[in-house]
């Protein structure tokens, strides 16, 4: 695994020291998970989500009516930087 490339895909800026630490660890883990290849699974359906039969049968659609929401103040309350009702971030371009 090219750890630096994967880190970039994951939006992680990792250091050279971290590359040295992670590379063998990730190789070990990937080798371990590849033991699944011992199993023949062509005829097996994938298990999607984690739902039980009862969970899947539970109605999760509600009437389309206006309900209370968090509100702007609470939504912005934890922002590192908020200005005039907006999240403020460094320049995009």
């Amino acid at each position: 695994m090219d750890v630096r490339k994967v880190a970039k895909l994951a939006h992680l800026e990792i250091s050279d020291d971290e590359v040295v630490m992670y590379t063998p660890q990730m190789a070990d883990i990937v080798k371990y998970i590849e033991q699944l290849n011992e199993l023949e699974t062509d005829q097996v359906e994938p298990m999607l989500g984690g739902l039980t039969r009862e969970g899947a049968a539970t109605e999760s659609i509600r009437e389309d009516v206006v309900a209370g929401s968090l509100g702007q103040n609470a939504a912005l309350a934890e922002a590192p930087s908020a200005v005039a009702g907006h999240f403020q971030v460094p320049k995009v371009l």
């Binding site: 939006h11 199993l39 984690g50 039980t52 009862e54 934890e78 460094p90 320049k91």
Partner: protein, 454 residues
């Protein structure tokens, strides 16, 4: 509260102790009179949202985050008259089996403070084991309640997926995550479960299934119950004293009138591999939200938005979280998806089908909870794969979605607690609580930790 403060410098199980809140709640409960939990003191893992209070997930990236709403489980505890005294330490984003990956220091096991309490809900387990509270909430993705319960000598329940609403539980791996419950006894766990369980429109994965009165499950009678034992799993990697203690527990259950039968779970040994594909894939997606824009920590040395994301995540996450995000990104990346993620979903189905088959022949399946007793602090922290293997007996219940409980069943030669695990069929928490309560009544541990409120 005084006990929490007195013990915390030594054990570090609490990240915050909420005086004013607890006092207010206690007075309100007193005023209300009769409530289901009657002022029971509880502690809450720091990845469950509590309005206006810090909810850090054990991570630097949320070190200053205050939740803006209560999780459904918290709302229900409040309504039932619980008094929350604080938020508990945990492995960062619930990723770990020793509580050593917390950004806010390790938690110590009250039975031996040179050892880990287990994880990831180590703080919640220690809060109960040290006698500070009778019950606490933790969370489970692969064993994070049952394993620390075993290592700390208390009861820990992971309910059926969908039994307790996840609304307000910070997401790690959504198809595996559950809120779980610690108690000193099965009865404490039953009291809390009865209050927090049940359908919640805020969580579309919570199921509309009737919640029984768990009080009626408690008691000593297990006659007529059938317990399955998957002997093939009692092999490699299982410590001798854990094996011996669990073998004794099987005989003890027989003496209580349970019938013991052999069962097979042929795919359980692939559980860890499946888990570390599915859990990390879901985590890489769920943890994408921590980017410094809307809440929590932001690196302040970034000239542009993209640099802000990279620098915030680099400085905000610890090594175990980064490892898992990267592994999840890798298994989902173009060209690898079928080989890893899709394969894992198929094997996950095989694991579930094993359980469905086994439960045609028994009411519960008995195994050790953890292959070892509490290990020394630092012993496994450089070897992530060895740490992952601590979850060998617990992960498959999360993959299948079935409930499971850990119950103390003995002490090792060096005086550390050992836990047995009972896994039940979907929605059979009542059966698990019945077996657990019968066992602890007939065969109590009969010892307290070295650090204990008394």
């Amino acid at each position: 509260m005084a006990a929490a403060e007195r013990l915390n410098p030594q054990l570090n199980s609490f990240l915050s102790i909420e005086h004013e809140h607890a006092l207010r709640q206690a007075l309100a409960v007193e005023e209300r009179g009769d409530t289901p939990l009657g002022g029971m003191a509880v502690a809450i893992k720091d990845n469950i949202c509590t309005k206006g209070m810090r909810t850090s997930c054990g991570s630097h990236i949320l070190h200053n985050y205050r939740a803006q709403y209560d999780a459904t489980a918290i709302e229900r505890l409040n309504n039932a008259g619980a008094v929350m005294i604080g938020k508990t330490n945990m492995d960062e984003f619930a990723m770990g089996s020793s509580n050593e990956s917390s950004a806010f220091g390790i938690v110590r096991n009250p039975w031996d403070v040179t050892r880990v309490p287990g994880g990831s809900s180590g703080g919640s387990a220690v809060a109960v084991a040290s006698g500070v509270v009778r019950a606490s909430l933790g969370s489970e993705t692969g064993g994070s309640v049952r394993q620390p319960a075993a290592l700390c000598g208390i009861v820990g329940l992971k309910p059926t997926y969908g039994r307790i609403s996840r609304y307000g539980l910070v997401a790690f791996a959504s198809s595996l995550d559950n809120i779980g419950i610690f108690g000193r006894t099965a009865s404490d766990v039953a009291d809390v479960l009865g209050v927090v369980a049940g359908h919640d429109p805020h969580d579309s994965t919570s199921a509309d299934v009737a919640v029984p009165d768990y009080k009626f499950s408690l008691g000593a009678d297990v006659a007529g119950k059938t317990i399955g034992v998957p002997r093939a799993l009692f092999g490699e990697g299982l410590d001798a004293d854990v094996r011996e203690s669990v073998e004794t527990a099987i005989e003890n259950f027989r003496s209580l009138g349970a019938e013991i039968v052999d069962v097979e779970l042929p795919h359980a040994r692939y559980g860890i591999a499946v888990y570390y594909i599915i859990a990390t894939a879901e985590a890489s997606s769920n943890l994408a939200r921590y980017d410094g824009a809307r809440y929590g920590f932001r690196a302040d040395d970034a000239p542009g938005l993209r640099e802000m994301y990279f620098k915030t995540r680099e400085a905000g996450f610890g090594p175990e979280v980064k490892r898992r995000i990267m592994l999840g990104t890798y298994v989902l990346s173009s060209g690898y998806y079928d080989a890893y993620y899709s394969k894992a979903q198929k094997v996950r189905n095989l694991v579930k089908m094993d359980y469905e088959q086994a439960f045609t022949a028994c009411d519960a399946i008995l195994t050790p909870t953890s292959p070892s007793t509490a290990f020394k602090i630092g012993e496994r922290s450089d070897d992530p794969l060895a740490m992952y293997l601590s979850d060998i007996y617990t992960v498959s219940a999360n993959l299948a979605g079935v409930p499971a409980i850990s119950v103390p069943c003995g002490l090792s030669d060096n005086g550390l607690p050992i836990g047995l695990q009972l896994v039940g069929n979907f929605w059979s928490e009542d059966v698990l609580l019945n077996l657990a309560s019968a066992y602890e009544t007939a065969f109590p541990l009969g010892a307290d930790p070295a650090v204990f409120v008394g």
